[in-house]
Amino acid sequence: MENNDLHNKLLDFFTAREQSLNGDNQTCFHALRSKAAENFRALGFPTIRVEDWKYTNIIPLIKHDYLLPSENTIQRGELPAIPDFIPQNTVKILLLNGIFSPSFSLPDGVPDDVQVSSLHEVNPQNENLFGEILPFDKNAFTALNTAFFQSGVSLKIVAGKKILQPIAIINYTDARSSSVLVQPRIYISVGKNSEVSIIEYSAALGDSPALVNSAAELLLEENSSLQHYIIQDDSAAKISDSRVRQLADSRYEAVTLTFGGAFVRNTSSAELVGSNAETHFYGLVLGNDRRLIDNHTTVDHVSPHCQSSELYKHILDDKSTAVFNGRVMVFKNAQKTNAYQSNRTILLSAGATINSKPELEIYADDVKCSHGATSGYLDEESLFYLQSRGIPEEKAKALLLHAFASEILNKIKNEEMRIALDRIIADQLHVEE
């Protein structure tokens, strides 16, 4: 536990705000927030003595005297251009300083079958799973988000619809005049037999220290399908926690691409509560300088006949550090589980580090589970083969790295998005046409 100034300041702030809430403290949210604040008080910020944060030192992050913006401070004309990799026809939902901003989003573009609302306005009684899918008793940042989030966004796909337009949830953080801590909160539910793809992206304006602490809860109802693309190149530090609950026959596929940002910690988990559901976690991390990128994943196989696969790839240069912790839990009833996990890393410099840890806990006896991790420098044999055909060493390296990355990029089903992201990744790897 780390009790620093920020920790105390946040708790004081919570107490002060609670007194000013007037009528709002009667809602269900209030009980949730109070509990979360209590948890945050008890947990404190994690130190590297906490197992889950062993390789990820957050102390430099919490030294800043962050403001918690309570409103949007970005004018319409100041919004950065939407990046190319977000396809033209995407429905864009904007969060500004982590706060859902319906007037900036494009209400006209939202198909009828997609219900977008503020988590603040919605009667919490109807959001009966809100705050239930994502526990906030272990991760201090999740507790913090739950205590403080302001007007998050709820996205519901009605049953029986295939949504053709991708939906992007974009957060812009205003770090132009002071250091800020913003806390986006997302609730997504995909109705029975429905299918949708969702893109998450965030960017910051200005260069004051900024921390984006986001939390997401996702519910996939029976036979629904969600492709979840998380694109990370934010200059703000990023801590995220997301958890998906999957009912029978549902399919969840997450592709996380991290190619920018000095500090990223993603905690991603799935619970397979219905049978015959599928989870796929794919990740690509490009690290350079002294950046730190940490992916903690958990798949909880609760029901039988489910499958999960994970493939995380890292390309690490300079003094960058990556962490991959992949936890797979197979509960007693989850017979016929098929779980596979792989983590592959190419180190481009002697100063780069990967900390990779698989954690398999299996309590059922009729399951197939495997994991594998490789790390090393670029394959000399492959490099020599390409060079011996006349391709110069630097180009040959870029070609091999791009090929390594393309296995993850190819998981992106939307072609427009895949091509644009491929170009960005190729540029970063110095691939020439």
Partner: protein
Amino acid sequence: MLEISNLCAGIEGKQILNGISLKVRPGEVHAIMGPNGSGKSTLASVLAGRNEFEVTGGEVLFGGRNLLGMPPEARAHAGIFLAFQYPVEIPGVSTVNFLKSAMNELRKSRGQDPLDAMDFLAMVREKSKLVEIDKSFLQRSLNEGFSGGEKKRNEIFQMAMLEPKLTILDETDSGLDIDALKIVSNGINAQRNNDNAFVVITHYQRLLNYIVPDFVHVLYKGKIVRSGGKELALELEEKGYDWLKDAA
């Protein structure tokens, strides 16, 4: 074209080549035979520039230039091609894109513009027929999941595309059945002309029935212990290597 003088080389402090001298002129085919461990593949690797081998003595001139000071890509640009004994599988790089990069790098080194896409494809069509390579093959990742025979045909296809001056075939016959051997040999023979040359490294005489050499050299303990015409290969086939070991 190629002049090797007293070449000595090794790996991790272990000497493998103990003074090899060999001259190859345009239009010639030289076979290098020898028992396992005699240094045949090491010679191929040293000529192509594999950096784990250390040259400890001697020199190699290629077209009058000092070959040993050049990185592998520069040797390729100068006109050397090594057909690998074990071609590497490279997932995620398609055969056709790889070849396009290799072709254009070669052209760039000669001050030529990149090949027009249509011309490139026309060339691919023509050369792939030579070794009976199917079109679908070209879109696949380089050598990934290819059979032994497909990998060797792919090597010869690349050679045909890049039109090197000197081709070193490192045990190209290993792992090939008789049909594949014929296809590969036909592909090689079709490339032979008065301006290029081949160094054929093989353990068995069988390949030399199809690719008829002008000279045969026997390598043993890192040295050429005997040179002769194509009849030397037949003699080796009959008597094995032991009589030469005794002589050495």
